[in-house]
């Protein structure tokens, strides 16, 4: 972003990478898939790079409003200084908090989740998928991230992307507004679960296995971790792949 401004340019969108997308090895692959798609479509975009900082989501969900607001106010200062108008996020938690909770602190932007943005690129004809891509006819199920689905009522965008792959979209018994959490939300990602008789991601993996899907798609780096672990625990690593919708599209478009 700083480089772009130095050259006197303004991006059309700011790509908010998020902490997972920046530091988590698996999530970095999602980041790269999104960048490939943006480049392919000649989108003029920027990232904040080292000027980006945690949105404060895990702190807020864990009850620490101070840390959250400190982060939020600092981020908003940076975003407003660059006069950012539109933000694409790679994570439903960043998406939710910037879209819904930053406005109250003076941060007003148009915020979309990457599944929605990629969908609009396809709808505008900027990205075309040759039919008969690598996923043609394969069984894919979609795990709704809570903060994308129930949290913000976005159910269709990721599903439409899967349908573009000419793949067979199969739904789990608990899907859309009835979808079961992967177990990572509310800062659970960063702590051990309370005592119980099962891990939530294992319960969710059973739903996936039941569909007989070969691929479980998601749209959240934390769901990615949880589902990958769940599939591993269920000894289904060879049979079920966990991929982000952005990766599916990037692979199908041969990027």
């Amino acid at each position: 972003m700083a480089e772009m401004v130095a050259q006197g340019e303004m991006p059309d969108i700011l790509f908010w990478v998020g902490c997972a997308g920046s530091f988590d090895d698996r999530a970095k692959k999602i980041t790269k898939a999104i960048v490939k798609i943006l480049n392919k479509c000649d989108v003029k975009f920027a990232v904040l790079g080292t000027e980006e900082s945690c949105t404060g989501d895990p702190a807020k969900r864990a009850g620490n409003e101070f840390v959250y607001q400190m982060q939020a106010i600092a981020n908003i200062e940076v975003l407003n200084a660059y006069e950012i108008k539109k933000i694409v996020t790679a994570c439903p938690h960043c998406f939710n908090i910037i879209k819904n909770e930053y406005p109250g602190l003076g941060g007003n932007y148009e915020v979309v989740h990457h599944s929605q943005y990629i969908q609009s690129l396809i709808n505008d004809g900027k990205l075309t998928l040759q039919d008969g891509g690598v996923y043609k006819g394969r069984k894919i199920t979609f795990h709704d991230p809570c903060y994308l689905g129930r949290g913000n009522d976005v159910y269709d965008a990721p599903r439409e992307l899967i349908e573009r792959l000419d793949a067979e979209l199969v739904e789990m018994k608990r899907c859309k507004s009835k979808g079961l959490c992967c177990g990572a939300g509310g800062a659970q990602m960063f702590k051990e679960a309370e005592k119980g008789d099962k891990e939530i991601n294992d319960e969710r993996t059973e739903d996936v296995v039941e569909t007989k899907a070969e691929i479980v798609a998601t749209g959240c780096p934390f769901c990615m971790t949880m589902m990958t672990d769940g599939v591993k625990t269920a000894n289904k690593e060879g049979a079920i792949e966990v991929l982000d919708v952005a990766e599916l599209i990037a692979n199908a478009a041969d990027l």
Binding site: G56, A62, Q69, G104, C146, R150, N152, E194, K195
Partner: protein
């Protein structure tokens, strides 16, 4: 004459006591913190019509939805008959509306009778679901004791009420057949159910017995109604009334959105403002509100209204990922605890004066930290609730108190917060490495 007097006295007591209880509940709810939920009125009416009146969210589970609809429809429509009973009671007439409405009267009462039979069946099915089939969400541990009894009592009361209706109508039907009813005329009242239930059950009885049965049915009905009315404020069945305001005041924002605490914003702005005078007195001399919720009065009035509205149906707990994987957390229990504690708190203050402190609080004594920390904030409970209750807001407020007032949290989360403060990420990575993915 005497019976008119008794009736009027009973009616005044019945409604009066109910009114007094409602005003108490209202005062309890208003102990909560302020929250403005009066915007977007058109949308609010729509939500209330769909969710409360239309029971839209019940139909996610069709079997209980249909059974519940039978009871609900019968309940609403029986109110017409109740109005007649009250008019008769005050005037001393018998079936005041019969002459005035003619054929429509027969139609209306027949309609009530058919719905009552459906409700009768539904009530038995509900009893069976709770006590024989033991549907999992209806037998969880938080229902042990009073909540279980409450549910069964109401169902039994409903059965009794319906029996009274048929005693009243059935006996009167037989009397009318013989030209002995207090209603002038002779023949059949033409009531869909009573015109054959009546003769079947009471056909061979003497006139005196028939009159007694008819009166038992009549008085029984009205007494049950007053009893029911006054039971409501102590019961989960209060939802039949509170579902309406509770859905009207629903949260209309995206479910993922949590509120920003304004006092925190003010404090941070002050901290970051280089011109601020750190010793300046706070602008108001009000006691600063604590962060988050220690007790019920730290919750918003909407959370307290939620608690009184809860039907204890357990749809929330049934979909809760924490609960379904064996954790202690149950969103239904959060709502029940909030209500129980609110009643205890408010009664304590009423009895022992304003300054009374029983040393207990919702956070800790009712809801434990283990429950509070098991929530993934997934909003499944909020989505599932048929009357738009929001247990998650309470859980988050309880968390905020633990973290911001008591610094009590799982140690990993304390570490996570420190990481965010120091590195701008929940993990221990250097902010300088944020763009490394670009070249990897």
């Amino acid at each position: 004459m005497i019976s008119i007097l008794i009736f009027i006295v009973l009616t005044v007591i019945g409604f009066g006591f109910f009114g007094w209880n409602v005003s108490k509940v209202r005062a309890n709810i208003l102990l909560g913190r302020d929250l403005d939920r009066t915007d977007r009125k058109a949308e609010r009416w729509k939500v209330m019509t769909l969710v409360a009146l239309g029971q839209k969210k019940m139909f996610a589970r069709p079997i209980p939805a249909i059974l519940h609809l039978m009871l609900y429809a019968a309940f609403v429509i029986t109110q017409i008959e109740l109005i007649e009973i009250i008019v008769d009671g005050v005037t001393g007439n018998h079936r005041t509306f019969f002459a005035a409405l003619g054929g429509f009267y027969t139609f209306m009462l027949s309609f009530i009778e058919i719905l009552s039979i459906l409700a009768f069946i539904a009530t038995f099915m509900f009893l069976a679901r709770r006590n024989l089939l033991k549907v999992p969400r209806l037998v969880k541990s938080e229902l042990n004791g009073w909540p279980k009894l409450d549910a069964n009592l109401i169902l039994i009361a409903e059965i009794t009420l319906i029996c009274f209706i048929f005693m009243m109508n059935g006996a009167d039907e037989v009397l009318y057949n013989q030209g002995q009813s207090h209603l002038a005329g002779e023949g059949s009242l033409g009531l869909a159910m009573s015109s054959w239930i009546g003769p079947m059950l009471f056909g061979n009885m003497s006139l005196d017995t028939l009159h007694i049965i008819e009166r038992i049915g009549w008085w029984g009905h009205i007494l049950m109604v007053f009893g029911f009315l006054n039971f409501l404020p102590y019961s989960k069945h209060f939802h039949i009334l509170l579902a309406f305001p509770n859905t009207w005041y629903s949260n209309l924002n995206p479910k993922g959105q949590f509120n920003n605490i304004d006092s925190v914003t003010a404090e941070i702005k002050l901290m970051m403002d280089p011109n601020a005078d750190p010793y300046a007195a706070p602008a108001t001399d009000e006691v600063p509100q604590r962060f988050g919720a220690k007790d019920v009065t730290d919750l918003t009035w909407k959370s307290l209204l939620d608690a009184y509205t809860c039907t204890e149906c357990g749809r929330c707990t049934d979909v809760c990922p924490a609960n379904t994987t064996g954790k202690l957390l149950s969103p239904r229990k959060i709502m029940m605890d909030t209500r129980d504690r609110l009643v205890e708190y408010a009664d304590g203050k009423r009895k022992n004066g304003k300054d009374y402190d029983d040393g207990k609080s919702l956070n800790g004594d009712y809801v434990t930290a283990e429950e509070i920390w098991a929530c993934t904030s997934c909003n499944a409970c909020v989505d599932a609730c048929p009357v738009n209750i929001d247990p998650l807001t309470i859980i988050v407020d309880l968390r905020r108190f633990l973290v911001m007032e008591e610094s009590k949290m799982p140690s990993e989360l304390a570490g996570m917060n420190t990481n965010i403060e120091n590195n701008g990420a929940p993990w221990q990575f250097s902010p300088a490495d944020r763009l490394n993915w670009k070249d990897e």
